[in-house]
Protein backbone atom coordinates (compact mmCIF):
# COMPACT_ATOMS: atom_id res chain seq x y z
CA UNK A 1 0.00 0.00 0.00
CA UNK A 2 1.31 3.42 -0.86
CA UNK A 3 0.35 6.17 1.53
CA UNK A 4 -2.02 8.71 0.06
CA UNK A 5 -0.72 11.31 2.46
CA UNK A 6 2.03 13.52 1.09
CA UNK A 7 3.58 16.26 3.13
CA UNK A 8 4.36 19.48 1.36
CA UNK A 9 8.06 20.33 1.02
CA UNK A 10 7.47 23.39 3.14
CA UNK A 11 6.41 21.20 6.02
CA UNK A 12 9.51 19.03 5.84
CA UNK A 13 12.11 21.25 4.22
CA UNK A 14 15.10 19.02 4.88
CA UNK A 15 13.67 16.30 2.67
CA UNK A 16 13.40 18.44 -0.39
CA UNK A 17 16.00 17.87 -3.05
CA UNK A 18 17.56 21.25 -2.47
CA UNK A 19 18.81 20.35 0.98
CA UNK A 20 22.19 18.66 0.77
CA UNK A 21 22.50 17.77 4.45
CA UNK A 22 20.02 14.92 4.36
CA UNK A 23 21.12 11.94 2.27
CA UNK A 24 18.73 11.35 -0.62
CA UNK A 25 16.69 8.21 -0.13
CA UNK A 26 14.13 6.28 -2.09
CA UNK A 27 11.58 4.30 -0.16
CA UNK A 28 8.77 1.84 -0.79
CA UNK A 29 6.10 0.71 1.61
CA UNK A 30 3.64 -2.15 1.91
CA UNK A 31 1.12 -3.23 4.47
CA UNK A 32 1.43 -6.45 6.45
CA UNK A 33 0.96 -7.75 10.00
CA UNK A 34 -1.42 -4.90 10.80
CA UNK A 35 1.20 -2.26 10.18
CA UNK A 36 3.21 -0.65 7.42
CA UNK A 37 6.67 -1.81 6.42
CA UNK A 38 9.04 0.68 4.79
CA UNK A 39 12.22 -0.07 2.92
CA UNK A 40 14.55 2.83 2.17
CA UNK A 41 17.64 2.73 -0.05
CA UNK A 42 20.09 5.49 -0.86
CA UNK A 43 18.98 7.25 -4.04
CA UNK A 44 21.25 7.55 -7.03
CA UNK A 45 23.59 4.75 -5.99
CA UNK A 46 23.12 2.99 -9.33
CA UNK A 47 21.49 3.93 -12.60
CA UNK A 48 18.68 1.45 -12.14
CA UNK A 49 18.13 2.12 -8.44
CA UNK A 50 14.39 2.32 -9.03
CA UNK A 51 14.36 -1.27 -10.24
CA UNK A 52 16.68 -2.38 -7.45
CA UNK A 53 14.29 -0.88 -4.91
CA UNK A 54 11.27 -2.58 -6.49
CA UNK A 55 13.04 -5.94 -6.45
CA UNK A 56 14.27 -5.52 -2.89
CA UNK A 57 10.82 -4.49 -1.69
CA UNK A 58 9.26 -7.52 -3.38
CA UNK A 59 11.77 -9.80 -1.64
CA UNK A 60 10.98 -8.27 1.74
CA UNK A 61 7.24 -8.46 1.12
CA UNK A 62 7.46 -12.16 0.26
CA UNK A 63 9.11 -12.84 3.62
CA UNK A 64 6.54 -10.86 5.57
CA UNK A 65 3.45 -12.20 3.83
CA UNK A 66 4.72 -15.77 4.11
CA UNK A 67 5.15 -15.47 7.87
CA UNK A 68 1.90 -13.55 8.29
CA UNK A 69 0.01 -16.31 6.49
CA UNK A 70 1.35 -18.84 9.00
CA UNK A 71 1.33 -16.88 12.28
CA UNK A 72 -1.45 -14.31 12.10
CA UNK A 73 -4.33 -14.76 14.52
CA UNK A 74 -6.29 -12.31 12.35
CA UNK A 75 -6.41 -14.85 9.51
CA UNK A 76 -8.78 -17.70 10.15
CA UNK A 77 -6.86 -19.99 7.77
CA UNK A 78 -3.46 -19.50 9.44
CA UNK A 79 -1.75 -22.28 11.33
CA UNK A 80 -1.85 -20.06 14.44
CA UNK A 81 -5.64 -19.78 14.17
CA UNK A 82 -6.05 -23.52 13.62
CA UNK A 83 -4.01 -24.08 16.75
CA UNK A 84 -6.02 -21.50 18.70
CA UNK A 85 -9.24 -23.28 17.69
CA UNK A 86 -7.77 -26.58 18.80
CA UNK A 87 -7.97 -28.12 15.32
CA UNK A 88 -4.31 -29.04 15.47
CA UNK A 89 -1.99 -29.50 18.39
CA UNK A 90 1.49 -28.08 18.71
CA UNK A 91 2.85 -31.58 18.12
CA UNK A 92 1.15 -31.63 14.73
CA UNK A 93 2.25 -28.10 13.81
CA UNK A 94 4.73 -27.53 11.02
CA UNK A 95 8.45 -27.48 11.72
CA UNK A 96 8.78 -23.69 11.14
CA UNK A 97 5.89 -23.08 13.51
CA UNK A 98 7.41 -25.25 16.22
CA UNK A 99 10.80 -23.57 15.70
CA UNK A 100 9.30 -20.13 16.35
CA UNK A 101 7.45 -21.53 19.34
CA UNK A 102 10.79 -22.81 20.66
CA UNK A 103 12.36 -19.38 20.08
CA UNK A 104 9.57 -17.62 21.94
CA UNK A 105 9.67 -20.10 24.81
CA UNK A 106 13.43 -19.67 25.07
CA UNK A 107 13.01 -15.89 25.27
CA UNK A 108 10.35 -16.43 27.92
CA UNK A 109 12.91 -18.28 30.04
CA UNK A 110 15.66 -15.70 29.40
CA UNK A 111 13.37 -12.86 30.46
CA UNK A 112 11.92 -14.62 33.49
CA UNK A 113 8.52 -14.77 31.83
CA UNK A 114 8.23 -11.07 31.09
CA UNK A 115 8.25 -11.90 27.44
CA UNK A 116 5.64 -14.56 26.92
CA UNK A 117 4.18 -16.27 23.87
CA UNK A 118 0.88 -16.82 25.66
CA UNK A 119 -1.97 -14.41 25.84
CA UNK A 120 -3.73 -14.00 29.19
CA UNK A 121 -6.56 -16.15 27.82
CA UNK A 122 -4.09 -18.96 27.22
CA UNK A 123 -4.02 -18.68 23.42
CA UNK A 124 -0.57 -19.15 21.93
CA UNK A 125 0.38 -15.84 20.29
CA UNK A 126 3.74 -15.71 18.57
CA UNK A 127 3.17 -12.27 17.07
CA UNK A 128 5.53 -10.80 19.69
CA UNK A 129 8.43 -12.55 18.06
CA UNK A 130 7.28 -12.90 14.47
CA UNK A 131 7.73 -9.31 13.37
CA UNK A 132 11.31 -9.29 14.61
CA UNK A 133 11.92 -12.65 12.99
CA UNK A 134 10.40 -11.39 9.73
CA UNK A 135 12.73 -8.37 9.75
CA UNK A 136 15.65 -10.70 10.41
CA UNK A 137 14.67 -13.00 7.53
CA UNK A 138 14.06 -10.02 5.26
CA UNK A 139 17.63 -8.91 5.98
CA UNK A 140 18.86 -12.26 4.70
CA UNK A 141 16.70 -11.86 1.59
CA UNK A 142 18.11 -8.38 0.99
CA UNK A 143 21.62 -9.69 1.37
CA UNK A 144 20.82 -12.35 -1.21
CA UNK A 145 19.69 -9.70 -3.69
CA UNK A 146 23.04 -7.97 -3.28
CA UNK A 147 21.75 -4.72 -1.78
CA UNK A 148 24.20 -3.53 0.87
CA UNK A 149 22.84 -0.22 2.12
CA UNK A 150 19.27 -0.27 3.33
CA UNK A 151 16.98 0.67 6.16
CA UNK A 152 14.00 -1.52 6.97
CA UNK A 153 11.29 -0.22 9.28
CA UNK A 154 8.40 -2.47 10.28
CA UNK A 155 5.88 -0.54 12.33
CA UNK A 156 8.57 1.28 14.29
CA UNK A 157 11.10 -1.52 14.64
CA UNK A 158 14.21 -0.77 12.63
CA UNK A 159 17.06 -2.78 11.17
CA UNK A 160 19.70 -1.22 8.95
CA UNK A 161 22.71 -2.23 6.90
CA UNK A 162 25.51 -0.05 5.65
CA UNK A 163 24.99 3.66 5.35
CA UNK A 164 22.47 6.15 3.90
CA UNK A 165 25.45 7.67 2.07
CA UNK A 166 27.18 4.56 0.63
CA UNK A 167 30.89 4.32 1.21
CA UNK A 168 31.04 7.06 3.83
CA UNK A 169 30.48 4.89 6.89
CA UNK A 170 28.06 7.45 8.24
CA UNK A 171 25.23 5.87 10.21
CA UNK A 172 21.52 5.90 9.62
CA UNK A 173 20.01 8.24 12.16
CA UNK A 174 16.83 6.91 13.72
CA UNK A 175 14.45 9.22 15.52
CA UNK A 176 12.63 8.01 18.62
CA UNK A 177 9.01 9.03 18.91
CA UNK A 178 8.07 10.96 22.02
CA UNK A 179 5.25 8.93 23.60
CA UNK A 180 3.81 12.10 25.11
CA UNK A 181 3.62 13.75 21.67
CA UNK A 182 3.89 11.28 18.85
CA UNK A 183 4.38 14.07 16.33
CA UNK A 184 7.68 14.94 17.99
CA UNK A 185 10.99 13.19 18.51
CA UNK A 186 12.24 12.41 21.98
CA UNK A 187 15.72 11.40 20.92
CA UNK A 188 17.79 9.95 18.14
CA UNK A 189 20.14 7.04 17.79
CA UNK A 190 22.75 6.19 15.14
CA UNK A 191 22.44 2.76 13.54
CA UNK A 192 24.77 0.93 11.17
CA UNK A 193 27.59 2.79 9.49
CA UNK A 194 30.71 2.25 11.53
CA UNK A 195 28.71 1.99 14.77
CA UNK A 196 28.02 -1.07 16.86
CA UNK A 197 24.27 -1.31 16.71
CA UNK A 198 22.16 -2.17 13.69
CA UNK A 199 18.77 -2.71 15.31
CA UNK A 200 16.39 -0.49 17.24
CA UNK A 201 13.01 -1.55 18.58
CA UNK A 202 10.47 0.38 20.59
CA UNK A 203 7.63 -1.06 22.62
CA UNK A 204 5.06 0.88 24.46
CA UNK A 205 1.57 1.66 25.34
CA UNK A 206 1.30 4.81 23.22
CA UNK A 207 0.20 3.48 19.83
CA UNK A 208 -1.90 0.41 20.45
CA UNK A 209 -3.05 1.03 23.99
CA UNK A 210 -2.01 -1.39 26.68
CA UNK A 211 -1.24 -4.20 24.29
CA UNK A 212 1.59 -5.57 26.39
CA UNK A 213 0.53 -7.68 29.29
CA UNK A 214 2.49 -8.11 32.43
CA UNK A 215 3.41 -11.62 33.29
CA UNK A 216 5.64 -13.26 35.80
CA UNK A 217 5.43 -14.63 39.30
CA UNK A 218 2.86 -17.13 38.06
CA UNK A 219 0.42 -14.47 36.97
CA UNK A 220 -0.53 -13.28 33.55
CA UNK A 221 -2.75 -10.28 33.49
CA UNK A 222 -3.25 -6.88 31.97
CA UNK A 223 -1.83 -4.22 34.16
CA UNK A 224 -0.73 -0.67 33.49
CA UNK A 225 2.97 -0.69 32.97
CA UNK A 226 5.49 1.37 34.92
CA UNK A 227 6.97 2.33 31.55
CA UNK A 228 5.15 4.15 28.85
CA UNK A 229 7.73 3.23 26.27
CA UNK A 230 11.05 1.44 26.03
CA UNK A 231 13.48 1.64 23.12
CA UNK A 232 16.26 -0.92 22.84
CA UNK A 233 19.23 -0.68 20.48
CA UNK A 234 20.85 -4.04 19.92
CA UNK A 235 23.06 -6.05 17.63
CA UNK A 236 20.09 -7.91 16.17
CA UNK A 237 16.43 -7.02 15.81
CA UNK A 238 14.91 -10.04 17.55
CA UNK A 239 16.87 -9.36 20.75
CA UNK A 240 16.05 -5.64 20.62
CA UNK A 241 12.37 -6.30 19.98
CA UNK A 242 11.93 -8.99 22.61
CA UNK A 243 13.79 -7.01 25.28
CA UNK A 244 11.84 -3.81 24.55
CA UNK A 245 8.63 -5.77 25.07
CA UNK A 246 9.95 -7.48 28.19
CA UNK A 247 11.10 -4.18 29.74
CA UNK A 248 7.70 -2.55 29.28
CA UNK A 249 6.11 -5.66 30.77
CA UNK A 250 8.60 -6.15 33.58
CA UNK A 251 9.45 -2.62 34.70
CA UNK A 252 12.71 -1.71 36.40
CA UNK A 253 13.78 -5.19 37.51
CA UNK A 254 13.61 -6.39 33.90
CA UNK A 255 15.30 -3.20 32.69
CA UNK A 256 18.27 -3.82 34.99
CA UNK A 257 18.39 -7.50 34.12
CA UNK A 258 18.39 -6.66 30.42
CA UNK A 259 21.15 -4.02 30.61
CA UNK A 260 23.26 -6.31 32.81
CA UNK A 261 22.86 -9.33 30.57
CA UNK A 262 22.80 -8.14 26.96
CA UNK A 263 24.88 -5.76 24.89
CA UNK A 264 22.18 -3.15 24.46
CA UNK A 265 21.38 0.51 24.97
CA UNK A 266 18.00 1.44 26.43
CA UNK A 267 15.93 4.58 26.65
CA UNK A 268 12.81 4.08 28.76
CA UNK A 269 10.04 6.57 29.38
CA UNK A 270 8.25 6.31 32.70
CA UNK A 271 4.53 6.88 33.03
CA UNK A 272 5.30 10.34 34.40
CA UNK A 273 7.35 11.16 31.31
CA UNK A 274 10.71 10.96 33.05
CA UNK A 275 13.53 9.13 31.30
CA UNK A 276 15.81 6.30 32.25
CA UNK A 277 18.73 5.85 29.87
CA UNK A 278 21.91 3.86 29.48
CA UNK A 279 25.07 5.88 28.71
CA UNK A 280 24.74 5.27 24.96
CA UNK A 281 21.70 7.54 24.80
CA UNK A 282 23.48 10.39 26.55
CA UNK A 283 24.21 13.32 24.25
Amino acid sequence: MQPTFRPSPAEYPAHSASNLRAPALKSRTFQCMGTVISLALPAGATLDDGQVLEGATAAVERVFSGLDAMFSLYRSDSEASQLARGEVTLREASAPFRARFADATGWGLLTEGFFTPERPDGVLDLSGIIKGYAIDQAAAALQATGVEDWCLNAGGDVLVSGSPAPGTGSPWLAGLVDPLDRGALLSGFPLGGTGRFAALATSGTAERGDHIWRAGAGRTEFRRSEFRQASVAGLDIVTADVLATAIVAGGRPMLNWATDSWDIEVLAVLGSGELLATPGFRA
Binding site: A43, G188, R208
Partner: protein, 170 residues
Amino acid sequence: MRIRAAVSAALASAGILLAGWQSGAHVAGTGSTAAAAAAATSSGTGGGSTTGSSGPGSSGSGGSSDSSGSAGSAGAAAQAGTYAGSAVQTRFGTVQVQITVKAGAITDVTALQLTDDDRKSVQISNRAAPLLRAAVIKAQSAQVQTISGATVTSAAYLTSLQGALDAANL
Protein backbone atom coordinates in the same frame (compact mmCIF):
# COMPACT_ATOMS: atom_id res chain seq x y z
CA MET B 1 26.46 -8.70 39.22
CA ARG B 2 29.91 -10.18 39.28
CA ILE B 3 31.39 -6.85 40.18
CA ARG B 4 29.00 -6.52 43.04
CA ALA B 5 29.83 -10.05 44.08
CA ALA B 6 33.53 -9.21 43.96
CA VAL B 7 33.04 -6.08 46.00
CA SER B 8 30.87 -7.82 48.56
CA ALA B 9 33.40 -10.65 48.74
CA ALA B 10 36.09 -8.02 49.32
CA LEU B 11 34.04 -6.48 52.08
CA ALA B 12 33.39 -9.89 53.56
CA SER B 13 37.10 -10.68 53.55
CA ALA B 14 37.87 -7.42 55.27
CA GLY B 15 35.23 -8.25 57.83
CA ILE B 16 36.90 -11.58 58.29
CA LEU B 17 40.19 -9.85 58.91
CA LEU B 18 38.55 -7.74 61.55
CA ALA B 19 37.00 -10.80 63.13
CA GLY B 20 40.39 -12.49 63.11
CA TRP B 21 41.93 -9.44 64.71
CA GLN B 22 39.28 -9.30 67.41
CA SER B 23 39.56 -12.98 68.19
CA GLY B 24 43.33 -12.51 68.13
CA ALA B 25 42.95 -9.88 70.81
CA HIS B 26 41.41 -12.46 73.09
CA VAL B 27 43.73 -15.34 72.44
CA ALA B 28 47.35 -16.30 72.72
CA GLY B 29 50.49 -16.85 70.62
CA THR B 30 49.31 -19.37 68.04
CA GLY B 31 46.11 -17.44 67.80
CA SER B 32 48.01 -14.41 66.65
CA THR B 33 49.88 -16.38 64.03
CA ALA B 34 46.57 -17.70 62.74
CA ALA B 35 45.29 -14.16 62.45
CA ALA B 36 48.49 -13.09 60.77
CA ALA B 37 48.21 -16.03 58.36
CA ALA B 38 44.69 -14.97 57.52
CA ALA B 39 45.94 -11.49 56.78
CA ALA B 40 48.78 -12.86 54.68
CA THR B 41 46.55 -14.98 52.48
CA SER B 42 44.18 -12.10 52.07
CA SER B 43 46.89 -9.75 50.97
CA GLY B 44 47.85 -12.27 48.30
CA THR B 45 44.46 -12.92 46.81
CA GLY B 46 42.41 -10.42 48.64
CA GLY B 47 38.79 -9.60 48.30
CA GLY B 48 37.43 -11.65 45.52
CA SER B 49 38.41 -15.19 46.28
CA THR B 50 37.99 -18.15 48.53
CA THR B 51 41.37 -17.80 50.21
CA GLY B 52 39.99 -14.88 52.12
CA SER B 53 37.28 -17.05 53.55
CA SER B 54 39.77 -19.72 54.61
CA GLY B 55 41.10 -17.07 56.96
CA PRO B 56 38.27 -17.14 59.45
CA GLY B 57 38.40 -20.92 59.83
CA SER B 58 42.03 -20.89 60.84
CA SER B 59 41.81 -17.89 63.07
CA GLY B 60 38.61 -19.23 64.59
CA SER B 61 40.18 -22.56 65.48
CA GLY B 62 43.22 -20.77 66.79
CA GLY B 63 40.99 -18.71 68.99
CA SER B 64 39.17 -21.69 70.42
CA SER B 65 42.28 -23.69 71.26
CA ASP B 66 44.46 -21.00 72.80
CA SER B 67 44.06 -18.60 75.64
CA SER B 68 46.52 -15.73 75.34
CA GLY B 69 46.94 -13.24 72.55
CA SER B 70 49.10 -10.60 71.01
CA ALA B 71 46.79 -7.84 70.02
CA GLY B 72 49.72 -5.84 68.69
CA SER B 73 50.78 -8.11 65.86
CA ALA B 74 47.22 -8.96 64.86
CA GLY B 75 46.36 -5.29 64.86
CA ALA B 76 49.33 -4.54 62.66
CA ALA B 77 48.17 -7.16 60.17
CA ALA B 78 44.69 -5.71 59.98
CA GLN B 79 45.83 -2.15 59.36
CA ALA B 80 48.32 -3.20 56.70
CA GLY B 81 46.99 -0.96 53.99
CA THR B 82 45.72 -2.27 50.70
CA TYR B 83 44.45 -5.66 49.58
CA ALA B 84 43.98 -6.56 45.94
CA GLY B 85 41.15 -8.84 44.88
CA SER B 86 41.41 -11.45 42.18
CA ALA B 87 40.69 -10.41 38.60
CA VAL B 88 37.13 -11.13 37.57
CA GLN B 89 35.90 -11.43 33.99
CA THR B 90 32.84 -9.36 33.26
CA ARG B 91 30.94 -8.38 30.15
CA PHE B 92 32.87 -5.12 30.22
CA GLY B 93 36.30 -6.69 30.49
CA THR B 94 38.55 -7.71 33.34
CA VAL B 95 37.87 -6.03 36.64
CA GLN B 96 40.02 -6.18 39.76
CA VAL B 97 39.08 -4.51 43.02
CA GLN B 98 41.41 -3.18 45.69
CA ILE B 99 40.40 -2.29 49.22
CA THR B 100 42.25 0.02 51.57
CA VAL B 101 42.06 -0.76 55.27
CA LYS B 102 42.96 1.83 57.86
CA ALA B 103 42.66 1.30 61.59
CA GLY B 104 40.62 -1.82 61.04
CA ALA B 105 38.07 -0.25 58.70
CA ILE B 106 37.75 -0.24 54.94
CA THR B 107 38.35 3.30 53.81
CA ASP B 108 38.40 2.85 50.08
CA VAL B 109 37.40 0.44 47.34
CA THR B 110 38.97 1.07 43.95
CA ALA B 111 38.92 -0.68 40.60
CA LEU B 112 42.50 -1.70 39.81
CA GLN B 113 42.24 -3.21 36.40
CA LEU B 114 39.79 -2.29 33.70
CA THR B 115 40.74 -3.52 30.30
CA ASP B 116 38.56 -4.14 27.35
CA ASP B 117 38.81 -4.74 23.66
CA ASP B 118 36.47 -1.92 22.77
CA ARG B 119 35.80 1.63 23.80
CA LYS B 120 33.35 0.76 26.53
CA SER B 121 36.28 -0.01 28.82
CA VAL B 122 35.90 2.52 31.59
CA GLN B 123 32.21 1.96 31.80
CA ILE B 124 31.60 -0.60 34.51
CA SER B 125 27.85 -0.33 34.68
CA ASN B 126 25.49 -0.10 31.76
CA ARG B 127 22.53 0.47 34.06
CA ALA B 128 19.86 2.84 32.88
CA ALA B 129 19.84 5.94 35.06
CA PRO B 130 17.53 8.94 35.27
CA LEU B 131 18.35 11.42 32.57
CA LEU B 132 16.91 14.82 31.79
CA ARG B 133 15.16 15.17 28.48
CA ALA B 134 17.66 17.84 27.54
CA ALA B 135 20.54 15.41 28.10
CA VAL B 136 19.62 12.65 25.62
CA ILE B 137 20.89 12.52 22.06
CA LYS B 138 18.78 15.01 20.16
CA ALA B 139 17.36 14.56 16.71
CA GLN B 140 15.22 16.79 14.54
CA SER B 141 12.69 15.05 12.35
CA ALA B 142 14.32 16.76 9.39
CA GLN B 143 17.64 15.00 10.09
CA VAL B 144 16.54 11.42 10.62
CA GLN B 145 16.20 8.69 8.02
CA THR B 146 13.80 6.48 9.97
CA ILE B 147 11.56 6.57 13.03
CA SER B 148 11.32 4.09 15.87
CA GLY B 149 8.19 4.07 17.98
CA ALA B 150 5.69 1.75 19.56
CA THR B 151 4.07 -0.33 16.84
CA VAL B 152 2.18 1.90 14.44
CA THR B 153 -1.13 0.60 13.16
CA SER B 154 -1.79 0.87 9.45
CA ALA B 155 -4.37 3.57 10.12
CA ALA B 156 -2.06 5.60 12.35
CA TYR B 157 0.79 5.27 9.87
CA LEU B 158 -0.65 7.85 7.50
CA THR B 159 -0.31 10.60 10.07
CA SER B 160 2.90 9.28 11.62
CA LEU B 161 6.36 10.75 11.28
CA GLN B 162 7.49 7.62 9.46
CA GLY B 163 4.63 8.05 7.03
CA ALA B 164 5.73 11.59 6.31
CA LEU B 165 9.30 10.46 5.87
CA ASP B 166 8.33 7.69 3.44
CA ALA B 167 6.05 10.03 1.50
CA ALA B 168 8.91 12.48 1.11
CA ASN B 169 11.15 9.71 -0.24
CA LEU B 170 8.73 8.15 -2.68
